[in-house]
Assembly symmetry: C2
Homo-oligomer: 446 residues x 2
């Protein structure tokens, strides 16, 4: 009898959790499943959703994983992040508002794991230091327990990388930035608006989270907040005390020059410039690189590493659908690992990747981007028994949110949306978001 | 003929630079030296002295190495950090003030390397990922080039760890800290006082650098600055707008309770809680741990790893003498590697380590600490041709600085001290430190 296959899973955030759960459900249904061992740097699962008040180094001296901050509320309605097999109605037992504070969202992701018993497969407080494929075709994974300091080298047949998407800041540079005298902080190190109160703040980057942080600083009492976009202006009606500028061209001390020549002075800079694909534990030939894309380069079906199909990724794609995207990828990865989904030969994989990439280049705006990722999720799910998501209805909800955001970025979180799973309509939160400075679960449930 | 021995050196900051230079001088004098290959994560040498405006992640997504900040001036007189074989007189060509801004100090450390040609031995922008000793007694060192992403595994006979001392923040916790609504920042992430202007700031940690940062915030316009000490109050006459409190007991929101029961409210917290021995590329059996001590635990002569004498450390001790301490350790390491210094058997090493440790426990204040490290440097240097330091005279200079600091922490940097190498007396800087907000080399030289 061949020995049981061993899978090394790196990360136990929402992606790793989804994979462990998917395996457990398959096993309950009678499948023979491989031994999956998960390595998680944090003391608990939940990944990004575990707020750490620390920045820079965690209590072990490792890079802090979470980029979340106080007063973070989800930036799309919860109806766009609903697990079809664990509806919010079941979780809360009643209708709740569409926008959840971090802590409540985090509880939802954890509570949903109650139907499986997989925590024992996770080595917590354990950092993966290096993974190398040897000539025998097996992987040696070196991991270190952060409490005891002990390191182990373990062998695995295949590796799943689910180490997250929002942990390693991408920090570009601008001419003269070193002459800026104020504080320059990446959003990943942002926890509190306090240092920004009364200041003239430049927020570089205008994605949803950049807009969110700009607004956080505004409502907390920043003197003025400018958001600088890179590609095109946002269709946002900025309130008094905020404005928008094109790309930063240079810094001369505290004076910033924007493309087009406009200049302004700032006291503080907040970089909302995104995150890197960063896998310091992987050799180049196994490591995903490139920008954050809906169709990451080198992954067949966004999951299987083309150059070595014994390596899989979950959660590497740019996220619009978030939790349900991870879910579709986790089920697909599981079924590849179970042999239920056949990985075609290189040429066929390449053709499929190229087709999806080409299709991505045709995207001309948010509706097309949502349609693209919806189609991608459907493509994955067609191969698995992943609980079905009504991707069109979710995309529709996203676009409603987007319209509300354009109408008034201050009030879009006060809207209600309808569940595409249960049909339940959300209820209003007791306090308008602009006046809500308590992000506790207790206050939310009140 | 046996093949030439290969030494893997991790880090090309002041410690690694000193070791490379010491080897080069020995070779010029006719010695047969091993092949030394240095791995440096940054793009340039200089280690900690290379200010990075970034915090958190560097441009490659790696942890930022430097903890230096704008307006950092050395916190002891330059006369305590003078290389005997490269006096400041030679570097500047004239007498200059005792206190140098970071940039000027950095230039001094680099300029001193002009008499050797060792940069070619350094692999820049290269992170060491893992080091493992194999059964054949040789080390496999896995390193990754951060620009190309390429990784290599190289074999070495011995390893020298010189990866620095002030790069990985030690971030302890306090009850209730997660309820604090302001910003909590470790000194390692501090670059600018801007966010602290007008705020009530609690600085936790009262070592020299804690005091320095407290004073930086005060002179930059913080509303109030408290420094909290852990062991005993500092003999410092704090100016109006500053005070001192004992250990923090807990946070309740923004209210802080100190040992003894005093309470106060703060807007911001700056953690000057020191740095960790953090070697994420070393297995536990080779990794120095424990607190930051004059006599680090497990290192014979503060240099040779007792459990495996094929591993050496330079720059791991708590630093009072700084550059000249690193120099003494580098020469000692070199001479161990050259076989000029014999490493005794385990029992003898142990006895020597125990004796130095015991002696450390007798230290009852700064004069004794300086005498201890002076004696340690002399002990090392007795075995090598390391240029001699007049440790008593340097200790005397340190104590003059300390007295000046106690007298007025705002003006001690305006004092002048005498070189123990050349006898040259420093000259006053053109601007009192409290009013000096230009830390450029240009302004200093003016």
């Amino acid at each position: 009898m061949a020995s049981r296959e061993r899978i090394g899973l790196i990360g136990a955030g929402p992606s790793g959790m989804a994979l462990l759960r998917a395996f457990s459900l398959a096993e309950k249904a009678g499948a023979q499943v491989p031994e999956v061992v998960a390595f998680e740097r944090q003391d608990d699962w939940g990944g990004q959703w575990n707020l750490d008040w620390r920045t820079g180094a965690d209590k072990y001296g490792e890079p802090v994983h979470s980029s979340m901050y106080r007063d973070l509320w989800i930036n799309g309605p919860k109806e766009c992040m609903e697990y079809p097999d664990y509806p919010f109605d079941r979780h809360f037992g009643r209708a709740v508002p569409s926008y959840l504070p971090r802590e409540v969202m985090s509880e939802y992701i954890r509570a949903r794991m109650q139907d499986v018993d997989v925590r024992g497969q996770i080595r917590f407080s354990t950092a993966v230091r290096w993974v190398q494929k040897h000539d025998d075709g097996r992987f040696r994974l070196t991991a270190q327990h952060l409490v005891s300091g002990e390191s182990v080298v373990e062998e695995f047949d295949r590796i799943v990388v689910a180490s997250g998407h929002f942990h390693t800041p991408q920090v570009p540079s601008w001419p003269g930035i070193e002459s800026f005298r104020g504080q320059v902080q990446h959003a990943g190190d942002y926890r509190s608006a306090e240092g920004y109160v009364g200041k003239r703040v430049l927020v570089i980057g205008s994605s949803y989270s950049g807009q969110d942080l700009a607004l956080q600083l505004h409502r907390a009492g920043a003197k003025h907040v400018t958001t600088a976009y890179r590609k095109q202006p946002q269709d946002i009606a900025w309130p008094q005390g905020m404005d928008e500028q094109p790309e930063v061209q240079r810094f001369d001390g505290n004076t910033v020059t924007f493309a087009g020549g406009a200049q302004a002075e700032y006291d503080m800079v907040l970089l909302c410039t995104g995150y890197l694909h960063h896998y310091p534990f992987l050799p180049q030939e196994l490591a995903l690189g490139g920008p954050n894309l809906l169709c990451p380069i080198g992954l067949w079906k966004g999951v299987v590493w083309h150059d070595d199909p014994d390596v899989l990724y979950v959660g590497a794609s740019q996220q619009l659908f978030t939790l349900t995207l991870l879910e579709a990828q986790a089920y697909f990865a599981r079924d590849v690992l179970l042999g239920r989904v056949e990985v075609p030969e290189a040429e066929e994989r390449k053709a499929d990747m190229d087709a999806w990439f080409e299709r991505m280049t045709q995207i001309d705006g948010p509706p097309a981007a949502l349609a693209y990722q919806g189609a991608y999720i459907q493509d994955l799910s067609a191969h698995t028994d992943c609980p079905e998501v009504d991707v069109e209805a979710v995309a529709e909800t996203f676009l409603q949110m987007r319209d509300a955001r354009i109408e008034d970025v201050r009030t879009f979180r006060d809207r209600q949306h309808r569940s595409t799973v249960t049909g339940t309509m959300a209820v209003p939160h007791h306090t308008p978001w602009m006046q809500e400075f308590d992000d506790s679960a207790e206050n939310f449930q009140r």
